[in-house]
Amino acid sequence: MFNGERHDLDRLDRIFREEHGRVVAALTRYLGSIDLAEDAASEACVVALETWPRDGIPPNPGGWLTTTARRRAIDRLRRESTRTSKEGEAHMLLELHGTDGPTPDESSIEDDRLRMVFTCCHPALAPAAQVALTLKVLGGLSTAEVAAAFLVEEATMAKRLTRTKGKIAVARIPYEVPGDAALPARLTAVLTTIYLIFNEGYLPGGSTQETGDAVRPDLTGEAIRLARLVVELMPDEPEAAGLLALMLLTEARRAARVEDGRLVTLADQDRSLWDRELIAEGHDLVRRCLRRNAPGPFQIQAAINAVHTDAPRAERTDWAQIVALYDQLYAVSPTPVVGLNRAVAQAEVAGPEAGLAAIDAVHGIESLDCYHPLHATRAELLRRNGDADGARAAYERALDLATNPAERAHLSERLSSLEML
């Protein structure tokens, strides 16, 4: 079955990537260090590359890799123990587990992955560091791939990852699932990090301009995979399901979202391009969340997206329902951005003038002066209200601020269509 052909190697690559988080998480608990665990895991992959093509892929590749990596780590500690202070470490490991300890059972491996999620997303780490480490350790991305996601040199990213792992080790960030008291806040931090990865993939801005990508499906896919992992590991947390639903329903619209390098707004999207399977899964998750009746910001945003994806045509959208959901969202998360989005929904129900008034009435709206969606939204409502000059100024301000190429193309087109009036 193996001829060393390209697709065989791709297949091994995919297995390594899928199993990476599992293997490193189990080894980290065993070896007490993410660094040592990663080294051991890559050694095991080298062994696998030698033996799997000859002997076939073992029935439980993750378990095989973990066991092999553990043996390699023990061998190495034993070798080094003759000349360094690692002697104690090696002895301890050997006494605790022996060379041929049983493969840890599935449930303890799952616990390790959950520990790893919470360690990588610990609030004592900078948000960008959390994202990078999560992609590397749990996503199984190589340092070069993480560097590409951040658009920095591989050496720079390697240094950053080392510093982050150094802080985890030296400051003793614990390798455990937080206790009940701290869990809600810590889980929010985990979900926020995953959503950050998704958004960077969905609407890359800033320096991404040079690569010209409007959407980066690699990152959105990775974020969804991580959210699936958290939902699988913590099935009783409705906000985790809410985040997964939110991302699925957003991802479902990806194919319709950009046309000829230009962003297409929700109202103008070709809904036949939407991914029905993702929508069905997202709707199912939203329904399950509703039954639980413990709403949180991610679940409410998912519900809003469910209303949108429920409408066969834009004009059939149940905007009153969306306004009601935004009211609910604003109650739990009273930020100016939520206020702005609620005003957009209000404009659909009560007309552009009411929408503009609602925007002006948003508490703290002045803090969004450098947020281009504010100006793009105002421009659209001013246009609908017949104020071409006001709309022009607002589109220009939005264009000054927007960095995503597809978004800029969309805004330019709106602006020039205005000038034809």
Binding site: H122, A124, A171, R172, I173, P174, P178
Partner: protein, 116 residues
Amino acid sequence: MAQYLLSVWHDDQNFPQTTPEDMERMFVQVGAFNEEVQAAGKWVFAGGLHPITTATVVDASKGDPVITDGPYAESKEQMGGFWVIESEDLDEALEWARKGSAACEGPVEVRPFQGE
């Protein structure tokens, strides 16, 4: 068990504007916090510092010592005091820092000490 430095940071310029009532309240709060740390067996050492107007810098790194008046870092925020505590891990140290910050009504920086 590891040791952590919990340092308290104040806006040194505005600190003198604190009223005697504020000082009294913080004094009582910090006293209670100190007792809690001691009762938990996590206490190593702690102290409050005089304002930066009393600070002096000595630099003998290039041979002859150079002595200058004032704090080393010309920053608005200065360390006003600190605790050295024992903790199992960072989460425990952060929990002590949360209580310490509330007691002294200022942000607290947490840094691990190097091991032996």
